[in-house]
Symmetry: C2
Subunit: 325 residues, 2 copies
DNA sequence: ATGAAAGCGCTAACAG
DNA sequence: CTGTTAGCGCTTTCAT
């Protein structure tokens, strides 16, 4: 079977405590000589530390659990990149738990799985928690932080773009290009969605522009959602649309082209996210670009108890999907 | 602190052994009455099983570790969906370890992390192992299976599309549409890449078509790769290209359009993967479509010791990026 | 049906 | 600098 520190200790003629110290590089609590010997033997025997045991005794692991759902969007890679990078530099490992496709059970299950082991923190990426989830999380005594989602509760950690501002910027950009009838497409009906509605309405209001009810269309951030929603906009005479994600924008755009609508001249689209999808689409999508990498980095800081901002700045990336009217 | 079985035992007036049995639903080794009482108290106290301890004593966990790298492609979601689904139905949890962007150290690190705990199996998704990795894996005694990658070694578990056949099909499709000068773009220089070259060459050979050296261009499956590679094809006079991934195809396609090349009339592209990217691109990309979900499902079966196929069938999805010549 | 006790592999006082 | 020892929370014989 796999060798343990006991095997190494026997072979090296020292106690398990010494082996433990060497393997943990505990400062100068052992002689260089013993150190070398133990290390050598450990290597020979193909020793592999059993972290399960370590965690059991330390009661705090060095792993951060990241829970993500299969959002039909594709920004998670960048967030995870940032998380991984920062976690590494803090000596933490990262494990990712997959919460399925916004399925409440799987989401619950993932949180449970995370809680059922010694973990230094939980990062919930774009997860909209239900009451059960919150109870679980708060009752566990493990720090947790929402990522790319802001619950608007001060006592709950979060790192995100400011969705209100994101939608405000996007809407203003369209207004700045002369648009007056502007739609908002593909947002969800929870926190992120309603924050974006707020920003959108605020921008419209500040320019004395009315908003008609059917200019706001809910969806799930997916390409399919965008594809479908375009049809629903046909009767509204909007000239510009703020899309809730790059995927929604791409769907909108392709559906429009299938209907023979000229882009961006007959319809302008500004997308939220700014991933590579914006370049793949034709015409390339102008976007409010989020800094997902930094969101990842700062969320690690925050969950590890360092200070970190709540909101990470965004910026507009001009491409070719918005026309002057 | 978090309650343990001891706390429950005390409160219930039974031994920890009994609590353990109840919590593990060990058949009829306890009375219904005690069962109910224990369960009730456990719930009241907000008891959460410490899986670390369970794994330590059982020496086998119920979690499958999935190692993925940030391939610039986007098929992993589907694979993971399949893995998760099947793992669940076998009573296994899934944790995902992120191996960075084909960085050898991170990849190594991820494998180590997986090995350093009690795990029932390791799934390596699109991971090209180096010698170190293989030594680690083989020395560990934990079952492992390569996913979406075939090392061509019989003793090593794998579930994948048949890359040779994939490229063969793609090339034949182009040939069937009258193309004679056909390129292969964006493949890697390892197993998957060389398997695809084989299939490509075979198809060309079977039709007495010569292959010039500069018709085969290496890359890394990314959009950027495709973008760049188009330039390299300009001098070759190929009329059709087999792209190594949807992302490469999208890059090729957009670069071509920027150069004013008419698609598909002046250049046909067939892509390998068949993800949603094929629909987002304009014109929509004809693809050899892989069944990633099934690949995920079967890889779980295989790593858990059930019998499962090595190759999962693919099929061609006709869209609009290939023209008859 | 239930309890006592022996660990799983490791760390962390506490002695020396 | 190093060894001894007492657990971490749980499962699992072995008795009863």
């Amino acid at each position: 079977m796999k060798p343990t520190i006991k095997d190494i200790a026997d072979k090296a003629g020292v106690s398990i405590a010494t082996v433990s110290r060497v393997l943990a590089s505990k400062g100068d609590s052992y002689s260089k000589k013993t150190g070398r010997k133990v290390l050598k033997i450990a290597k020979e025997m193909g020793y592999r530390k059993n972290n399960t045991a370590v965690e059991l005794v330390k009661k705090k692991g060095n792993v951060i659990a990241v829970i993500i759902n299969a959002t039909p969007t594709n920004f998670s890679t960048q967030i995870i990149d940032g998380i991984q990078k920062q976690a590494n530099s803090l000596g933490q490992h990262v494990i990712i738990l997959y919460a399925g496709n916004r399925s409440p059970e799987l989401q619950h299950q993932a949180i449970l799985t995370a809680l059922e082991r010694a973990i230094s923190g939980i990062l919930l990426v774009a997860i909209e928690p239900d009451q059960e989830d919150m109870k679980l999380l708060e009752g566990a005594g493990t720090p947790f932080c929402f990522v790319s989602l802001y619950l608007e509760q001060n006592n709950i950690l979060a790192v995100s773009s400011n969705n209100r501002d994101v939608a405000y910027q996007a809407t203003n950009y369209l207004i700045g290009h002369g648009h007056k009838k502007i739609g908002l497409a593909g947002i969800d009906q929870y926190h992120t969605g309603s924050q974006r509605i707020d920003g959108y309405r605020l921008a419209m209001k500040e320019h004395q522009l009315d908003v008609e009810d059917d200019w706001i269309k809910l969806g799930d951030y997916s390409y399919a959602s965008g594809l479908k929603l375009l049809g629903d906009f046909l009767s509204t005479r909007v000239t510009g649309i703020v899309a809730a994600s790059d995927m929604v924008a791409a769907g909108l755009l392709n559906a429009a082209q299938q209907k023979g609508i000229q882009l961006p001249d007959q319809l302008s689209i500004i997308s939220i996210d700014g991933t590579v999808i914006c370049q793949i689409a034709t015409p390339a999508l102008t976007s409010v670009t989020q800094d997902f990498y930094t969101i990842g980095v700062e969320s690690v800081n925050k969950v590890m108890g360092k200070k970190a901002p709540l909101f990470i700045p965004t910026h507009i990336t001009k491409r070719s999907s918005v026309a002057e009217i």
